[in-house]
Structures are given as C-alpha cells and as structure tokens.
Symmetry: C2
Subunit: 168 residues, 2 copies
C-alpha cells in the first residue's frame, strides 16, 4: 500500500498550518493581556540577519502552496507579502489552506518521479517529486513554522509543543 | 509506486542528523574563534521553561531512533543523556545514525497500518504507523533540530538554512 504522495503532502501541510493559525491566536491573546504591541512580535528576529516572525509565517505558507502546486502541476498561486497583524497572517494561512484543500489526491498522486525545477536564489535545481517533497519542501516548511513558534516562545507567548504538533 | 515507509523515514532522519552534526562543528569553530565557553551555547534556552540546546539534540536523536525502532518492531536503543560538549553531542548523533543505518528497508516497509503504542508523559496514545511517522515523529524530529539551530543562530553561530537542509 505504501504512502501516497498526496498523503505525505497536502493533509500534513494543511494540518500544521491550522496549528500555526491557532498559535497566532495565542500570540494575539498574549499581546492583549500584556499590552504588547503585536509588531514587537511579528517583527521580532532571533538574530539581526534572520527573518522576522511575519516572514517565517509567509514563507511557511509559500513553501506549502508551492509544494502542493508543483506536485499537482498547477500554477503556484501568488500571495503578496503585505500582512502585518496576526489577523492578516491568519488570513494568509487560511487562503493557503483553502488552496491546498482545493487540490484532489489524484492531482498529486503519482508525482514521485515528476521533474521539479526550482529557482533557489541564484541557484537552479532539478529534483524528482519524492526527493523534492521529503528532502526539501517538508523540512523547509517545518523550519519556518518552528522558527515562528520559537520566536513567539522566546518572547513569552504561552505555547507548548502540543500546539505545534496538534492532533496527528 | 508511491513512497515506502522506509523512504519516508530512515534516510530522511539520518540525512538531517548528519546536517545537525555539521552544524555542531560550526558551533565549535565559533566558540573557539570567539573564546566562548561551549556550555554557554549547549545550556542556552530560548525561554526559561524551554529545554536547553543539548536537550534539543538529544531529543532529536531519541525521536529519530524511536521512530525507526518502533516501525521496524525492534527494541528502542537506550542512550543515556550524559552529553555536555559538542564532541559528545556529535558522538550521540553518530551512534543514532549508526542504529538507523543498521535497519534494513524490509524491516520498516509495510508498517503503514502497524499499531504504535506510545507514552507521551502521562498520556498513552495508539496510532497507525503512517499516522505516527507523518503526523508525530517527523514534525517532532524537525522541531528539535530546528530549535537547536535557532538557539545557535540566536547566539551568533554563522549558519544558513542550507546547513539544515543539506543536500536533499
């Protein structure tokens, strides 16, 4: 039976994005309770040359929609990086989830050997679908979700790993 | 053809652990160059009730060997949490990788529906192999690797996302 390309991608990405959205709810509640300006969290960087929290969320969304679109062979939806508030970041996540959920399993299944051509900054790479999903898209997606979580945690938002893992 | 349980687990975990080991090399070089006591990094927490860097590495290793052992139906090797130095943490990673690489694909393949019983603190859960791997073990593994990375990055170690992703 094995794992289908769909099972390893779309529902996993959507599930974690839903958890990330709930994490942002907790960040908003924390800001309200402590009278913290939300931009203090959304613009926070763990190091000056790392990306701020809001960019971690945006890139997590981009990685998720990019993976699903490329594996399905449909155009990657363009979402402008205009979000500032937690509500706007949650809307960005919601439209990413809506796109992911619009893709049918049959569109992604069978893409194990599909050629995936990617521009990573100045470098162009060619991978097979499975290699791209397991070795690049998923680790990259989790990287940005966890870094968003770590930034919020570092700033005192009351979160636990269960908020990130959710209900597998 | 699909993705086999082995393909989605052992080589992915081993690959990221190798990247984590190389990240620790860079942390050691940074400490040497800046005359930083390594414990300042290995004991560093992003928040007082988060785990320190060395525990992030140990738990990443535990998650990886636990997943591979449970899916293969072999006993989970016990590794005591005694590491302090970067060299010791690298040795912990190396013995985890050696265990992962000792497991043959045929031992893991076909474990999609296998019952996985897990104690998570006070809670006991029952999952199927695929659900456990994709929804718990992999996100949890990446959580601890990325948090170790984020702690080092936060403390100025010169790393980039490529150190974490490596060569997919």
């Amino acid at each position: 039976m094995n794992i289908s390309m769909y099972q390893a991608s779309a529902p996993r990405l959507a599930n974690t994005l839903k958890n990330l959205s709930a994490i942002l709810d907790k960040a908003q509640i924390y800001c309200d309770a402590k009278k913290i300006e939300p931009a203090a969290l959304t613009h926070f960087r763990l190091y000056p040359n790392m990306l701020p929290m809001k960019r971690q969320v945006q890139i997590a969304c981009d990685t998720a929609k990019g993976a699903v679109a490329r594996l399905a062979g449909v155009e990657v939806p363009k979402h402008e990086d205009t979000e500032e508030s937690f509500a706007e970041l949650k809307a960005r996540i919601a439209k990413t989830i809506a796109f992911i959920e619009s893709i049918k399993p049959a569109q992604i299944d069978g893409s194990e050997e599909k050629n995936i051509h990617l521009k990573l900054g100045a470098v162009e790479v060619d991978w097979k679908g499975m290699q791209y999903l397991l070795g690049h898209a998923l680790p990259n997606f989790y990287f940005h979700v966890v870094t968003a979580y770590d930034i919020l945690r570092h700033n005192g938002v009351e979160l636990g790993k269960r908020d990130y893992i959710g209900n597998p």
